[in-house]
């Protein structure tokens, strides 16, 4: 045998494994390339971008940080970290993950350049006040709602408020809140000044006014479209119908949404508001006058007493009307000389007769307005219109009038002041327009059957939690699903106004910026 298996095996280089093959060398070069590419990118990227700030150093470039896009309102500063991060470090003081930096609240000043606001509460503990970014965490996408802060930001203190308010402050205790439900949130309460009574001091029966024809009495004559002026029939009687049809009022017949076109508050405790957010307080002119005109003379049905004046002024107004009427009937009375004092031998009988008649008519009208008994014969004799009670049908007198035997007695009358509120719950916001698809009585329960105004029919927390709670299907019935975060109803930065106002949009900036300053994210230095 000239060749053997041993020789054959020697044809393989037995030390081949000690030398790398082509694939191994290629792999090594690839690893080196990856290492170099990654290193170079990290080293060079910081100097390749735009908008570097003076504080930028290695690894501080915006394109390297895992920052996430800013919300749309802040998008101009997506690559200008110093617009908020001054100094350049994290600004979220409450992060729980470890960090190489101690977070700073210095960036809050930058926020407050545009978003100035009052302190949350006079009793807050200064050291516990979080930085802006602790609640409003940006870098979460263009469409992220910065104002929709998580509940934890509120319940961090409000879950045990006794430990998080200035102990030296002397103020009433506030119930703790941990979640929005009847168990973990205090019941809705009216301001202490309204406790136990309706502040409007108006005698009003929702039940009567929501009954067709506005008549509760058996066999009573209904109030029909014919009783309304033509201009009011659509609003109060519906768009179509016969004149004999009874009037059917709805909530919206009197309660109108505030379109907020008038920036100046027109009513007591009217809040800074969005269109449709609040209801306008019911006023005589807008909601009552069509059915309750203050006409006082059947022969002059278009003449109405002015609403909203004191009884003495009303007496004078009516008195002036009848004086004018008397002069109209006998114009020559104007040509009569009327001595300043009665003169012996000169009779003033005619003048006295006219004066007496005017005062009698005035007294009769005033008596009807203020609830003193007026016989039907007297009413007809005086030419007064059918009575619906006058002023005291809706208003209360401060004192019992007794028999009104003279105008002097009428002038001494006083009405209880009326204060129809625009806002009932002052510690939260509510937008009626957002809830327009829901029947009023769904929340204002019982109001349709209320025969008087002994209490305001304001909804309780259970009305809200029916929808504003986690979605559930108890017994196959869907409940909840609508948002129930704290910020749905409460504002942190606007507690200086009732219902927490509109917040940031109402605040003037600390310093107005030029467009260049604004876009550069470099607010002017503050002292």
């Amino acid at each position: 045998m000239s060749d053997t298996s041993k020789i054959r095996r020697s044809r393989i280089d037995l030390g081949y494994h000690k030398r790398g093959d082509a694939l191994g060398r290629w792999r090594g070069r690839l690893v080196l390339f990856a290492l170099t590419a990654a290193g170079l990118w990290l080293l060079l990227a910081p100097s390749s971008g735009q908008g570097k700030g003076a504080n930028l150093r290695l690894f501080q470039h915006a394109s390297l940080a895992s920052k996430g896009p800013l919300t749309r309102a802040h998008a101009a500063w997506d690559n200008q970290c110093e617009a908020c991060h001054t100094p350049f470090q994290g600004i979220n003081t409450s992060r729980w993950s470890p960090s190489l930096n101690r977070a700073s609240t210095a960036g809050d000043q930058n926020c407050q350049t545009c978003h100035a606001g009052p302190a949350h509460h006079p009793n807050q503990i200064a050291s516990e006040v979080p930085s802006c970014a602790e609640c409003h965490r940006d870098h979460r996408g263009r469409d992220f709602r910065l104002a929709a802060t998580p509940d934890a930001g509120c319940t961090g203190c409000h879950a045990d408020l006794g430990r998080h308010r200035n102990p030296s402050a002397n103020s009433a205790a506030i119930a703790n809140v941990t979640a929005f439900d009847a168990e973990h949130h205090p019941a809705f309460t009216l301001p202490a000044s309204l406790a136990g009574k309706h502040p409007g001091r108006i005698k009003f029966s929702h039940k009567r006014h929501l009954t067709p024809g506005l008549v509760l009495e058996q066999g009573g004559a209904p109030f029909t479209r014919a009783n309304l002026a033509a201009a009011d029939r659509t609003r109060y009687g519906g768009p179509a119908g016969r004149e004999a049809d009874p009037v059917q009022l709805t909530c919206a017949s009197c309660h109108r949404l505030d379109d907020a076109t008038d920036a100046t508050p027109r009513f007591a405790n009217q809040i800074p508001r969005l269109p449709g957010e609040a209801m306008l307080p019911v006023s005589y002119e807008s909601s009552c006058r069509a059915c309750h005109p203050l006409a006082f003379d059947r022969n002059a049905p278009t003449v109405e007493a002015r609403h909203g004046q004191e009884p003495a002024a009303l007496v004078e107004e009516i008195n002036r009307f009848y004086k004018a009427q008397a002069l109209e009937e006998k114009p020559d009375l104007l040509n009569r000389f009327v001595p300043p004092q009665p003169q012996p031998g000169r009779s003033a009988a005619e003048l006295d007769t006219v004066r007496d008649r005017v005062e009698a008519k005035t007294l009769m009208a005033v008596r009807r307005f203020f609830g003193s008994a007026v016989s039907e014969a007297d009413r007809q004799g005086a030419g007064l219109p059918l009575s619906r009670g006058g002023c005291v049908e809706c208003h209360e007198l401060s004192s019992t009038p007794g028999p009104l035997t003279s105008l002097a007695a009428a002038r001494n009358l006083a009405l209880e002041p009326v204060a129809i509120r625009s806002l009932w719950y002052e510690n939260a916001r509510f937008n009626h327009a957002s809830h327009r698809a829901v029947e009023c009585a769904s929340c204002h329960a019982g109001v349709e059957q209320a025969a008087d105004q002994s209490k305001p029919h304001m909804p309780g927390i259970e009305s809200c939690t029916t929808c504003h709670a986690p979605a559930a299907s108890p017994g196959g019935r869907s409940t909840g699903g609508a948002g129930f975060d704290c910020v749905e109803c409460h504002r942190y930065h606007a507690t200086d106004v009732a219902a927490h106002g509109l917040g940031s949009p109402l605040r003037k900036p600390v310093a107005a910026l030029s467009i260049e300053q604004f876009l550069s994210g470099a607010p002017p230095a503050r002292p």
Partner: protein, 323 residues
């Protein structure tokens, strides 16, 4: 490492179930946390679940990278069995994908946050290349076992082919009388030579070394010399992938049948031997292709892993500094 065969799957089943359960648990916590406010809000990487997943994913990634020094640097000091290392590399590596995707909130938009997005893409590429390698390693060895009985050490194929080429030339020259046989030169009777050839016993086939009678001069074999010059030698010496007629098994059979018809039957064993060498060459071609497939992914996987690891360190530094 074979995973999905009857023998190995019971060993891997527990790991598989662990990875699935851990992924579902991670997704569950993530969803619960994201919906905690009543509506969905992506938990950030610094949120409790995001941070935990990031920390675990980072530690696993560091462990995965240890496989490299373990194989390259610590050959003489191996901690744990290779099989256990590879099993943990495989399954824990797969677990990093859901964990780190959740940690990064599926942020693949490079323009939004370049480093985070690059890390996301790298993670997917690393895990993808690893899975590709796993699949390849489960399929290719089986193909090689069944179709490459002549398999030899891949890096030595050119060297072996040089041997085959010399053998072929020697045989042809002896048969054609151009060179004397070694026996004739030594004045001995016709001797035996050792040859490598493919043999099959039952279902097992492989390359064996056999003793064969040495070739002898056969008059009228000039066509064999021409055939060797035109086909066999170019094929045995050509680089892998060169398109030659003998590269096709069917064409090779026709060519060798043709040359047999042109020479005496006593020279046919030499033709058969040449055909066997060309068959082995074809197998070497296939082996090299499969070898590249089997090993190229690893280069990509390792390079991407290195980039991922380096950038991950930078990401951790940045996140800790500016979160």
């Amino acid at each position: 490492m074979l995973v999905f065969d009857r023998e190995n799957w019971p060993y891997h089943r527990g790991w598989f179930l662990f990875v699935v359960a851990a992924s579902l648990a991670a997704a569950g916590w993530y969803l619960v946390y994201g919906f905690a406010g009543g509506s969905w809000a992506w938990p950030s990487g610094a949120s409790p679940p995001g941070f935990v997943y990031g920390a675990i994913g980072g530690l696993i990634t560091a462990f995965e990278m240890l496989l490299w020094p373990r194989k390259s640097l610590w050959r003489g000091w191996r901690i744990g069995r290779t099989k256990l290392w590879m099993t943990m590399h495989l399954w824990l590596g797969l677990l990093t994908l859901p964990l780190l995707l959740l940690h990064g909130s599926f942020q693949f938009n490079v323009s939004a946050s370049a480093l985070a997005a690059v890390l996301m893409w790298l993670l997917v590429a690393v895990v993808g290349s690893g899975v590709f390698g796993l699949v390849v390693q489960n399929i290719v060895p089986r193909v090689m076992f069944e179709q490459l009985p002549a398999e030899t050490i891949a890096s030595q194929i050119p060297r072996v082919l040089e041997t085959y080429r010399a053998d072929a030339l020697r045989m042809v020259e002896v048969v054609c009388g151009i060179a004397p046989s070694e026996s004739v030169a030594a004045g001995e009777a016709r001797g035996m030579v050792a040859v490598e050839t493919v043999r099959q016993v039952g279902r097992v086939q492989g390359l064996v070394v056999e003793a064969e009678l040495e070739a002898e001069f056969t008059p009228g074999s000039e066509s064999l010399l021409e055939f060797h010059r035109r086909h066999v030698d170019p094929y045995l010496s050509a680089p892998v992938g060169t398109a030659l007629e003998l590269g096709s098994p069917r064409q090779a059979v026709l060519l060798f049948e043709e040359v047999k018809r042109q020479i005496r039957p006593s020279a046919h064993p030499v033709v058969d031997r040449l055909a066997d060498l060309c068959n082995q060459r074809r197998q070497f071609d296939l082996q090299l292709r499969l070898h590249r497939l089997l090993h190229t992914w690893l280069g990509v996987h390792v390079a991407l892993s290195v980039a991922l690891f380096v950038l991950m360190i930078a990401h951790i530094f940045l996140a800790m500094k500016y979160v």
